[in-house]
Amino acid sequence: MDRSQGSPKRSSAAGGWGALKSCGKHLLGSRAPLSGARALLSANQPDGFDCPGCAWGDPAHGSSFEFCENGVKAVSWEATDRRATPRFFAKHTVSELRGWTDHALESEGRLTHPMRYDAETDTYRAVAWEEAFAEIGATLRGLDHPDRVEFYTSGRASNEAAYLYQLFARAYGTNNFPDCSNMCHEASGIALTQAIGIGKGTVLLEDFEKANAIFVVGQNPGTNHPRMLGDLRRAAERGARVVVLNPVRERGLERFADPQNSVEMLRGASRPIASHYYQPKPGGDMAAFRGIAKAVFARDAAALAEGRPSLLDHAFIAAHTSAFADYRAAVEATAWAAILDQSGLTREAIETAADVYLGADRVIATWAMGVTQHRHSVATIREIANLLFLRGHIGRPGAGLCPVRGHSNVQGDRTVGINEKPPAALLEALDREFGLSVPRKHGHNVLGAIGAMLDGSAKAFIGLGGNFVRATPDTKLVEKALSGCELTVQIATKLNHSHLVPGRIAYLLPCLGRTEIDRNSRGKVQIVTVEDSMSMVHGSGGINKPASPHLRSEIGIVAGMAAATVGSERIDWVALADDYDLIRDRIERTIPGFAGFNTRVRRPRGFMLRNLAAERVFETATGRAGFSSGPLPVATEHQRASARGDTFVLQTFRSHDQYNTTIYGLDDRYRGVYGERRVVFAHPDDLAALKARAGERVDLVCVHAEDGIERVAEDFRLVPFDMPRGSLAGYYPELNVLVPLSAFGEFSDTPTSKSVLVQVRARAQVRARAAKPLGRAA
């Protein structure tokens, strides 16, 4: 044995570390009397699983949960030793469980057996997998049209599971793909596709190391993607300006909090992070960015008048953009009065932000739900892109657009075909690869699916993960929609409220979590892949023993349903589910950018899907990045509420002990709330105007008379908080009952969860049905 091989440094001792490290290599490769494929697979296994939490990128992909408080919560939540067994279900009727909180349901632990709802006893009972697949298949085959089925996807599903799922649905005959991105970043995808030709961001993690100004808009990374704080902190420490626009003054953004230092995170120790913190009115971001652009144009005009060079990147604008003149005209036509009223910011603040922008030669703009869940979100994101185009801040190091996705693979699921409006190229590739004739007619998104279930045109719902009832708006209507179905199938790791509104036939199918070892029929460990917010595709392999021997992987469950529904003549579902490399081969042949998928995904950190916009190649209709030039909204919800005097704009958000609909605990440490979730945050002066005291309990009533439905969220405690007057905030899913199905984003169909018009009513008055809304001073 050559002892120098495989050793980072030579060792003089025969038994030295270097020699033993070389042994490690031998163990995995050269001496292995195993098949080449097995050895290759083992040698290149990714180091651990992708965290099932957020989609923030990893500098060196691995067990990132070790360094992130929320990741630790996500992993330990999945790795619990508690079990929701058939015995548990026998003891509790579905009707009883409906009265439990989200937290209590999930706290029962991991599901262990496939279960079928028994309407006679109102309980779930264990069932054999094959029996479940057979009845699901027979029911689906019995429907009079494939469009009667809604195929919902959670953003936690892996690329392989999502690909097989869309193949199943399309082989069955529908493009009905409601998915969680419909409720979060749909506006980003649409706006960016219009602006730069691709619905994804253009930055890599490394760009945060090079930017010298980062605009963080409508997001709260301290709670939602804590690892981002590490990148922001490092940027700030080397002198980059971090400009925050967020109505709520979030402690996690105000101050440093090192997500790689769990002790610091757990203790809340932190230091300032934002160089500038602005609190626009809800929905005021578009006006703020238009104001910044207006100030930039004024500074540019002044520079030119003084004989200095232009502050704009005219070379980029001329070579790579369209409609610049229209945009400039629109900005100049927008009055400062409108900008200030709509944004709620002072002109001084906006001009300071413009100076930060002009003082940086590499600028990143990053945003999340605070931007995307408004009526005019698409226009707002276009406006953010406009500002970056002015100085060519796209397609070069340290600059670009960065929507920060929520769930760990929401972006990847869309990449591999979860799309109710699929591109023709994808459908043609599927036809060619599998010998199919998949449907061309566009399908349903989330709102379309709910509408179809409500009007009876959809008869079946299949949920690949997630918690549809609690994630969607208008909770009571969605419960009605699901419970009216002929068939509901929920694939899940833990019990949640979506499982408690069964259709006539209802199945609860337990799957492996991402942290668990997934072996195929030959004992070979399988890996899956995910795509993060920076378009990096990583491998992920579980390391924990499965919670129950009866669990199947999501892929295996999808394959079982597909085989029972559409048969295996054209597609060998079982073979695909038994070797995920075979699924990746199919992805490689049908989805652009995945050449060499099985090899590249086993490299450390995976690989980046090619992003043409990041190379300044814009696949828009004009072949250029497009400035948009629409006017500001006639009135934002904030302005409408101000005009009424008794109305507030409510935004729903997460607590710190929460990940989407998963409630890990009842605290919100950064906001000083402990042991409860039914709270509503308000400006102290608004409490005074309401003649309400901190801690007083109120009901919230949605002001949305268009559909004649009274929506009430009962019994919330008022908490004073640093936020704009006229605005309120509280947690979803509890407040989703107030979000109207009929209020959604223009072009995106995203529920307007960040701008719900509500009134505040005292509890006793509501009970007496003689309530008058509590008014507030204008």
Partner: protein, 100 residues
């Protein structure tokens, strides 16, 4: 950090012997048993560090050995997943054969 008490050749010989005794084991699994027998590593993280093998791979192999009743997991760190292990009765029997 002190040097490991056994040299590479001894380790590889023990691994080969174990692999021959229990052909259903992967070389990595056999190596973990050999490392335990020779006192090189009694937990997954140490084994990963000494042999330059990714921790996740070692964890999977330990799970496999525990599933085959050759190892008993004695402790696990919830944050890092570092897993400490000892030979089970069946594992001890195999290692005894190795010593013979």
């Amino acid at each position: 950090m002190s040097e490991p008490p056994a040299d590479a050749e001894t380790f590889l010989a023990a691994t080969d012997t174990l692999a021959a005794l229990r052909p259903e084991l992967s070389l990595l699994e056999a190596g973990i048993l050999a490392g335990l027998h020779l006192g090189l590593a009694g937990d997954s993280r140490s084994f990963a560090r000494i042999f330059g093998v990714e921790h996740a791979l070692v964890l999977r192999a330990v799970e496999g050995l525990a599933g085959a009743a050759l190892l008993t997991v004695t402790a696990r760190d919830g944050r890092t997943q570092r897993t400490r292990y000892a030979a089970s009765a069946a594992g001890t029997a195999v290692l005894t054969a190795l010593a013979a």
